[in-house]
Symmetry: C2
Subunit: 344 residues, 2 copies
């Protein structure tokens, strides 16, 4: 077979604020690949990419390598990478065979050659949900919700939870877990279409944080026993003042600080003492061993049966991925942002 194009999205330069399509990331069409001729000696696998996850946290990897954080930075000139589902075309690795669907961390490229997939797992071929969902509510974001719920939220029936960015793939699962366990759910998002989704999920109090003050809503509907924090900055500051005694703050993200040099500072930190709060950060990969099996045994089935709902913003080409990456930073997507390159 003749070589074919292998489109990739490369990290080109460190953004100052928001990532800029065509500048901080570039789509590269120059690589070609002969699928039959790729040498897989030494346990390598050739796979076709089906769906790629676009997540808020990726902005943190678009940084200068001198700046140390919890994860590795992207490398200038190399493809971006994130959670994805790929289909194995050929394999010389005993762990994977042709036809396998593999979830893991993969390059933003139409085709992949890999040996050890990071965080990789062969998915069941017939679970009844689209592959894109395996990078969404049945993937890393769903796990984030599930692991944080089990590990930190420690919810009790009748308690009140406030979920910020509640219409996203993490927040929407948290809303549904909370409703299933009998909590009162306060949920916010920044677009009318997202608010309707939150109402559909059964959230008790739904509001647009761009037009209604968090302060006002929590004064009326708080205090809050659990704050599911994706945002940081002034939102977190306000919520701390409206927490109930012995409340838990599940710190999952800090989108308000990802695209600015300095996060908005938290003046209400002393409320952690006054209310005896537990504030904990969670990174999903730390808890795979404890909760992964329970997650896969529970959540994909609930999704297939329609018991857990989701929404997606889909693009069908890597050419559109850099813009969607930007939209995710600005909250302009709805639900899980995903690049679907092939359905099978």
């Amino acid at each position: 077979m003749a070589p074919i194009r292998n489109t990739r999205v490369l990290f080109n330069s460190v953004p100052q604020g928001y990532p800029v399509p065509g500048e901080t990331t570039v789509v590269d069409h120059s690589q070609t690949l002969d699928l039959d001729a790729v040498d897989l000696a030494g346990g390598k696998v050739l796979a076709k990419t089906l769906s790629i996850s676009i997540d808020p946290y990726l902005r943190g990897k678009m940084r200068s390598p001198e700046k140390k954080t919890y994860n590795q930075p992207f490398e200038i000139g190399k493809p971006l990478y994130s959670h994805a589902v790929v289909k194995v075309l050929r394999s010389e690795n005993p762990k994977y065979k042709a036809g396998d669907y593999v979830y893991g961390v993969f390059d933003w490229a139409e085709y992949q050659v890999f040996s050890e997939g990071l965080d990789a797992r062969v998915l069941p071929p017939d679970s009844g949900i689209p592959w894109s969902v395996y990078v969404g509510v049945a993937g890393m974001p769903g796990k984030t919700a599930y692991y944080g719920w089990k590990e930190i939220a420690k919810a009790k029936k009748g308690e009140t939870i406030y979920v910020s960015t509640a219409a996203g793939p993490v927040g929407s699962v948290v809303v549904q877990l909370a409703k299933a366990e009998g909590l009162k759910v306060i949920a916010s998002a920044g677009q009318e279409s997202k608010l309707q989704f939150l109402r559909d999920l059964g959230a008790d109090v739904v509001f647009n944080y761009k037009t209604t003050s968090v302060e006002k809503v929590l004064e009326e509907h708080g205090p809050v026993d659990i704050f599911w924090d994706h945002v940081g900055g002034s939102t977190t500051n306000t919520v701390l003042a409206h927490m109930n005694t012995f409340g838990r703050v599940v710190v999952i993200g800090s989108i308000s600080s990802y695209n600015t040099p300095q996060a908005e500072p938290i003046a209400n930190f002393p409320h952690i003492l006054y209310k005896r709060l537990t504030v904990r950060g969670l990174i999903v990969t730390d808890h795979e061993k404890e909760y992964r099996d329970a997650f896969y045994a529970t959540i994909p089935g609930q999704i297939a049966r329609g018991e857990i709902k989701y929404t997606e913003t889909i693009v069908r080409s890597l050419d559109e991925a850099p813009q969607l990456l930007l939209d995710v930073q600005k909250g302009d997507n709805t639900g899980k942002a995903v690049v679907i390159l092939a359905d099978d």
Copy 2:
């Protein structure tokens, strides 16, 4: 017997910044009491005050009643109150008999009439340590150290702890618990005499935070697995950036914010996420049931045998109490601040 004077310290007005002796608190000599004639009908107890605790947190009770926090405000015109040891003179309450030494929350007054002592406990008459120590390292401050250590610090041998205001009655117990369990201890205070005390306790790195930057010390001797936080504000902000992954922050106080209208804000809040920290506030009274018996079975004996050391700043009259209350807010005392009105 003729009536005798019963000097008291009254809460007179809400301080704007630091409490002002003679203005926000006043010493009142006007009350008299006939010790033989006081009516104890209905289960009351008459007691002589031996020692009274002066604590940083008391500033938080010197507020307007509209401002709700975790505790009750002092009442204007009424005596201040805090942990104290009193000796029962007469009793019509079956829980207490003449000659009993009782630890609990009592008025800042030479004599007390009470029925149900708040947080009250009859102390052993012969434990070999002075009564003043029962409001210090063998009392509420020592309990704060012990309960927080058990509940939140979850120390492992070889870890590094940073204790701010380490020469105080809470911090100094934490330093000693940490050294006993094989931790590396970084300890700070604001006076040379306090630094020597910290060296005597075996702290590995001792520094004066007024002349040496926390940042610099932690860069050299960090990262920190456990931060014992009495301070809040810019100190806490700096330490968050020097925490180790999975570190614990034990929030016990916020002295930097007690005497100002607004606490210094925390810009490094996102480090809670990046380092997956657990930040928890602790108020000692919440954990009495879980840890009190273990505390009294362990700590007073260790103090009596000299295994736990302490220092005190003592005044011997209620006339001097308002100034010591101010000194505690400014950190001008060394070790436990206590008013000793009688040794027995």
